[in-house]
Amino acid sequence: MIVETWAQTDIGIQRQVNEDCHYVDPDKELVLVLDGMGGHKAGEVASTLAMETISLFYKEHSSVHPRDPEVFESYDDHFTLHANLLRQAVFVANRVVLEKSRDDDALVGMGSTVAAMAIRDYTVSTVNVGDSRIYLFRDGTMEQVSRDHTLAEDQVERGIISRDEAGESQLRHILSSVLGVDTRVRVHMDELSVFPEDVFLVCTDGLTAVLSDEEIHEEITKEAVGLDTLTRMIDEANARGGPDNTTLALVAFKKNGS
């Protein structure tokens, strides 16, 4: 299968700094989107540091053996080697950002979300921390593959509120897991088979704060995906006030020879 990727970031209208960052591996094996937070540019430091750590670690250890104790602090046999490697990269990034935040007064309390995709021949592994998201568009349907780490989502998990209520809840902006704030971090992982015509969208909450899932679905499916799709969505987010930085990455799978 052929993999095509596009990515774009925008500062939005209401922010002075873009604390989002993104990475698309030249070999198309890794896609990362991150949303940093912290006063006075600390957010930028957090997201950039996390991105660099994850991409370097993942690429460096790509021929590691399963369960190598030098590399993996824990190993989940329900997932493939590459999913475990991506998860380990995220654990390492968490500690690196935490260490850095302790070095400098101005960086105390900084953190970052991450939404990560590792791409293989027929499968994709995803890892996310926080409320940056990964969506799959397939056969006219849209599915959120990531899971938000927010108090509202945690309440949905516990059966306290419904998914509809969570969409309106004030607690939906309060993160219950984030990189760089605690030595332990909760991650959500998944793995999927992929097929030609599958499209993945990896994005920060700047998009989902102003566009509904239906509207995002409409934009992705109205014509062949490409850079225009991203520009249209960012323009629309800004037209609606651009309250936050918005970063989007698209991954499209196509049949060989198409």
Partner: protein, 255 residues
């Protein structure tokens, strides 16, 4: 001249009078108004006076944001009676000039169409998280007993029973991705002339188990039908890959 009445959960902590500006607010000791709380940034906000008698509240790129009368602001004019909210502390702005001399908020400002009521993403520590959730639940009238009862979770269990063309065995499908093929490192070894090294993958998803064709000249078959891309498996389905035949079984467990 103005006064700030500093409150925390309805208790008045302090009343500070200021003649000059700027007036800085934050967690660090060097601020004019010091709020010692983890939700407050070192240098959180400042009150400036761009023109004599005109006061403006400016957020200093704080982590958790500055709110004025429950609206998140970056830069906003301050008027008598306004309440500044930083973290969980409130500051009432008292304009000490005689009433006739106090400016008022323009009517046009209030009739501005409301933009997305966007609250910046906030990080709270675990205790604050628990308190916030508990408060929300109380407000909603959910009793602690209800909250403790977890929703019924349906867990899916799948297995493959190899009946021909391989070692007779039952393989539990505990992984998200189970690989099938001729290759040595596949989870389920299949035999047959045109079978690929990685012939197929069974993907465990929240909604069920799906078999997908990966590579090779031979596509997997389910109940005699060739799988083009992927197909959901149901209890009792017979899967054939080359010479290897397996029965797929699925059961649900409600916890």
């Amino acid at each position: 001249m103005f006064r700030l009445i500093l409150r925390f959960q309805d208790t008045v902590l302090d009343e500070l009078t200021f003649e000059g500006t700027p007036v800085t607010i934050g967690r660090r000791d060097s601020n004019d108004v010091v709020i010692d709380n983890m939700a407050v940034s070192g240098g959180h906000a400042v009150i400036q006076e761009p023109d004599p008698g005109t006061y403006v509240l400016v957020d200093q790129d704080s982590l958790n944001g500055t709110f004025l009368n429950d609206k998140k602001v970056i830069r906003e004019n301050l008027f008598h009676g306004d309440v500044i909210i930083i973290g969980k502390h409130q500051m009432e702005f008292v304009d000490l000039r005689p009433e006739e001399l106090r400016p008022t908020r323009e009517v046009e400002e209030e009739s501005r169409p409301p933009g997305p009521q966007f609250r910046e993403t906030v990080i709270l520590d675990t205790q604050e998280q628990e308190e916030l959730m508990a408060k929300q639940e109380r407000d909603k009238g959910i009793s602690p007993e209800d909250a403790a009862a977890k929703p019924r979770k349906v867990e899916l269990f799948g297995s493959l029973t190899v009946v021909a063309g391989g070692t007779p065995e039952i393989i539990d499908l505990t992984k998200r991705l189970t690989t099938l093929g001729k290759g040595n490192d596949t989870d389920v070894k299949c035999s047959g002339l045109l079978v690929g090294k990685n012939a197929a993958v069974i993907n465990k998803r929240p909604t069920g188990f799906f078999i997908a064709y990966a590579e090779g000249m031979k596509r997997p078959e389910v109940n005699g039908e060739t799988v083009q891309t992927q197909r959901q498996l149901h209890d009792g389905d017979e899967i054939t890959i080359g010479n290897t035949r397996m029965t797929f079984n699925q059961r649900e467990e409600i916890s």
